[in-house]
Assembly symmetry: C2
Homo-oligomer: 175 residues x 2
Amino acid sequence: MIDLIKSRHSYRGSFQPQPVPRADLIKILEAGLAAPSGCNKQTTSLIAVDDPQVLAQIWDVMTAPISHTAPALIAVLAQKIVSYRDKTYYMQDYSAAIENMLLAIKALGYESCWVEGQVTEDPDMVQAINGILHIPADYHLVCLLPVGIATDEVKLVAKKPFEERAWFNGFMKKD
Amino acid sequence: MIDLIKSRHSYRGSFQPQPVPRADLIKILEAGLAAPSGCNKQTTSLIAVDDPQVLAQIWDVMTAPISHTAPALIAVLAQKIVSYRDKTYYMQDYSAAIENMLLAIKALGYESCWVEGQVTEDPDMVQAINGILHIPADYHLVCLLPVGIATDEVKLVAKKPFEERAWFNGFMKKD
């Protein structure tokens, strides 16, 4: 399990053409829905897209760097509702759901990448995808995850060493 | 893996007294650090607390609903730095790291709970913990995770059915 967590990396390459079986997509969606949410408000919803005609419509409007060879795509939707008092936790909620899905995707032998900013900062594309998927105004598209079998090698990014980010019993303390 | 994701639930009860071995804490921290981060900025840092004297100091100021029987506690710290242009992703970054740690905690036989709002909305407690752990001003305590073996049963919360939160090829579409 922990090995799998460590083996997950963002993949931005192209995908093999074979479709993702619906049974696998369901497992990935279930993993997303199993994430915790602030005050159990379950603010995250998901749309898996595997219909080639719907995918083609999305590729037509896609400006984010997602390979148009992806045989499936998961759209992550957030309801920006208050959990208690004036607090919202939808951002934490969908982030935990995305991480669960990235791990499930990897566990099932696929690759993916968390594509968020390059989606949300293009309101025209968001509006077009909202139209294609019939997403109502109170559900906000916050992330797209491609799903498929990689054709290329997964490139690793350099990460800071453990000692620069994790400590024991005090900031920067090694024991 | 997906079974493990589904078996994770928030635990708010008390803990057995045996300490969490340092090797397990390292695995949990490594799982957290393995999470993706916006533009690979690695904005999340972690402090594991397992020294009974430091824990006692924290319990003295603890107002969040975390059992004082927890033999270990992980403090999650965020650097609120810009990832690109004016965008920050530290909230997504630490949420993915927390979810990874919750899964690692479960995989190793422990229980935990994502305690965030009840920490961050009490600035006096945050300031006191900052002092105990020597956390500098540019690192923000955003979450505490207790770690230990549960004494009680883990209570499940009701979740909406799959069909109310996940669809295929369009909003509310079942195929």
